[in-house]
């Protein structure tokens, strides 16, 4: 009769530590992403127009039957925090010294939005609040989305 050979005790099972990593990856922005990156470097918020429809952030191409190319444009606002959430713990479950507000920022009529930190009192934020971007100093911008440091309530 055959049987599973379980002679090894749990402590006998050998475990091997290992990893899976590269030195690093370099991701290019892509054809449309490059235009968007150039706008970010100028301190502007990019979007993409497919006909009259605005997409945030710019898409690879327009989601139509022809898979046509859209136009990367500067979005001037008004920016709204369509969704807001307050974060109290960090990645490891430790309490944050100060709660952080995260929002999905969009403009009326657009599809999609940008995820961003909102520098505001957690008690005072609400969905639909008006916000505006705060950019890094011009010489520090790289064209990445992190060029937008955070968003602040409009009027601050």
């Amino acid at each position: 009769m055959v049987s599973w050979d379980k002679r090894a005790l749990p402590g006998d099972i050998i475990h091997y530590p290992g990893k899976q990593e590269a030195d690093y990856y370099l991701y290019p922005p892509g054809i449309h992403g490059k235009e968007a990156a150039e706008l970010l470097k100028k301190g502007k918020v990019p979007g993409m127009l497919c006909g009259d429809q605005l997409f945030l952030p710019p898409k690879t191409f327009c989601p139509d039957e022809e898979m046509s190319e859209g136009t990367v444009v500067e979005v001037e606002g008004p920016f709204l925090a369509a969704l807001v959430t307050v974060i109290y713990e960090d990645f490891y479950g430790r309490s944050l010294e100060e709660p952080q507000v995260l929002g999905l920022i969009t403009v009326p009529g657009a599809v999609g939005g940008y995820l961003g930190v909102i520098k505001a009192d957690p008690e005072m934020v609400f969905p639909g609040m008006r916000v505006k971007p705060v950019f890094k100093k011009e010489e520090e911008r790289t064209g990445a989305i992190t060029d937008i440091l955070y968003w602040v309530p409009e009027g601050d």
Partner: protein, 183 residues
């Protein structure tokens, strides 16, 4: 839907960049992923690794078809039944294939070339065939690059060179390498 030619338009799309152009792209993102794992060797392979620590090469046999597996598996690939009969192999074998490496894992050049290959292990009395056999992938020492290149290394009789018992950890590297059998 019109019946046009199936040929794509030329020139073909794709925006090639030289390395320095690429490095200067606005919005280029550099990211280092780090995923750490703890791989379990499982029942059969753990026993094999414990065997290496004791200076033994263990195989496991399928009770139903008689194939002997080195490295051991918990199940027979053909019969899909549990393998349970452990056998100690003499450790000797022949070189199935061998190569001379001038590069390391990350493709940097090695100072001294390294010889590695596949060892077909002797498994006397157990079923194996021309296509499949008990074997290990390992380093080969005591063989010159010339012997690999002129082919005299292939088919050469070899045996394991063990690390000193106190240095063994239950790893495939408890065998330093396979070296030619004297005489």
């Amino acid at each position: 839907m019109s019946g046009e030619s199936g040929k794509p338009k030329t020139p073909l799309p794709g925006t090639y960049l030289k390395r320095d152009e690429y490095m200067k792209l606005p919005g280029l993102i550099k990211y280092k992923p780090v995923a750490r794992y703890l791989f379990s060797a499982g029942q059969a392979q753990s026993r094999f690794l414990h065997g290496l620590k004791e200076g033994k090469i263990l195989g496991v046999m399928c009770p139903s078809c008689g194939r002997v597996y080195v490295p051991p598996r918990a199940y027979c690939e053909y019969c899909h039944t549990p393998t349970s009969e452990w056998v100690e192999l003499p450790g000797t074998g022949t070189i199935h294939t061998a190569v001379v490496s001038y590069i390391a894992t990350d493709r940097s050049r090695l100072e001294e070339p390294e010889i590695v290959g596949v060892i077909r292990l002797d498994a006397p009395g157990y079923k194996e065939d021309q296509y499949e056999f008990a074997g290990l992938f390992h380093k080969i020492c005591g063989v010159t690059p010339e012997q690999v290149m002129d082919g005299s290394a292939i088919g050469m009789r070899v045996k394991p060179r063990w690390k000193p018992a106190e240095e063994r950890t239950g790893s495939v590297t408890d065998i330093e390498c396979f070296e030619p059998v004297e005489g």
